[in-house]
């Protein structure tokens, strides 16, 4: 043991370093870590705290009863308002109107869902635009679909 003094000193340094590390580590571990698993529980709360951008399903009905009634009675009943218009957050916050709700009248909006694609289910209403215009005798213009179809209740 006499001649192992240097080994003892080296090991002592190691012990001090290891102890310091353990101490620092316990300080650095976040308080909510490990509560429900190997993660920081506060993160769950951080996610939950974000504000939704799209509204609840019935949110538009509070102010727009007429359009909601037309929608629920027609073929577009399953389409959320925000799909064709825009997310609620840009229009209303905390019950106050903060911006306009865009209304798009272009045929490209309708075509997004309704132009014919082979991959679409066969029973889904879809048309080849040129053919559809020819049979109805219309010419292509921005708002051509709305000449015959009402946006909220499109059935003819």
């Amino acid at each position: 043991m006499e001649h192992a003094k240097h080994i003892v000193r080296a090991v002592l340094i190691l012990v001090v370093v290891a102890t310091t590390f353990v101490f620092v580590r316990s300080l650095a571990t976040p308080r909510s870590f490990g509560m429900y698993g190997a993660y920081r529980f506060d993160s769950v709360a951080e996610y939950a705290a974000a504000e939704p951008v799209h509204g609840a399903p019935g949110a538009c009905a509070e102010c727009h009863e007429e359009q909601t009634k037309a929608l629920s009675g027609g073929k577009h009943a399953s389409v959320s308002c925000e799909v064709c218009h825009a997310p609620l957050a840009g229009h209303v916050t905390n019950g106050e109107q903060v911006g306009p709700m865009p209304v798009r009248r272009s045929f490209s909006l309708c075509a997004n869902c309704h132009h014919r694609l082979t991959a679409r289910p066969k029973d889904f209403p879809q048309v080849v635009l040129a053919e559809h215009l020819a049979t109805s005798g219309s010419t292509l213009s921005e708002g051509v679909c709305l000449e015959c179809h009402k946006a909220h209740d499109p059935g003819i």
Binding site: E2, H3, A4, K5, H6, I7, R9, A10, I13, L14, F21, R25, A28, T29, P30, F33, A38, R40
Partner: protein, 405 residues
Amino acid sequence: MAEQAGYLFPNDLHILWMLMIVMYPYITGLVAGAFILSSLYHVFGRNELRPIGRLSLVASLGFLLFAPMTLMLHLGHPERGFNIMVTPNVSSAMAMFGFIYAAYLTLLLFEIWLVHRADIIVLASRSRGLLRTFYKVLALGVYDVSGEAKRIDHRVLVVLAAIGIPGASLLHGYVGFIFGAVKANPWWSTPLMPIIFLCSAIVSGIAMVVILYQIGMKFSGRRIDAPCMQSLARWLWLFVILSVTLELLEIMTLAYERAEEWTVIGPLLSDQLAFSFIGLQMVLGAMVPIILLGIVVLMSQYLSDQIRNTLCFVASLLLLVQVFAMRWNVVVGGQIFSKSLRGFRSGHSPGLFEKEGIILAVLIFVLPLLFIGLFNKILPVFERPESAEEAEGKQGLPAGAAPLL
């Protein structure tokens, strides 16, 4: 924007693990390889390797010190890097980095200190001023070089070197496991991955020591020890053959089984990685060195020292390139095809000045070499006859040296 062919998952357009993640296994491979080479001498008593016994340990340390730089340059949040040691997720192989690295660094420092302790004490007595204080601190204030102390040193050294073998293997093997355990990627996912990584790590470590040894001897005007070089060539040859066999075995099995992944891995190797895999990793990097080293090993008696040294040097340079190419082909190659197994994107070309760019990568490779040079200035890495005599336990201090206390 990357060129694409076929269908890639939309998020697969972005390559994540780039040059720095290729450098990391390369550098830790050099660490592990150099250490295992040193343990051939310190543990398994291959005395012909004595000339490079200390060099390989110091080379291991040099590359070890700069390995974390690669990771820091890659992380999205390097300032949070310490989280890996604060809240490690024990199911993640990557989390083991912090502890394995720290443990191995400790072990290596301890071992190098023990190997050099006699020199430290002698140098402490010979120097003056700040340098003297430095050596005295290194000696931890203990100047015992008696026979008994040397025996204790040696016993501890052998234990450390023995523990160090699995330690070094773990340090690099876990990197192989990081890739091998990703079931989502069929090019990475194989049980062979840690072993392939380790074998090619040993190849790169021995090759690096060959190069450093030859350059070191050239600079100091000393003779390259022929039996040592012959032994290095032999070990290098063995591990190259082993490494290439395993690499090819994996590919042959995939090609034979012709499961779903072969639809992407086949084209990957023959098209996208044609240059880096077939050209660099297999032909220039494996076939040529195997031939060159084969000449050294099998036709030793016909070779002059000069030819042997040159053949070994050239083979080692090619092998350093080969191991880099292997890391590149695994890391980047595994991200060139999409997880859809239906598409490819063009390979990643690192820029010069980026965070994960070529200049920084070269710097990370060169800095350890500078470290080794600096270390050699402070503590001699190549065994000198004088220090060997002193290590035999001469009690007295050389004439003209001041007492230590």
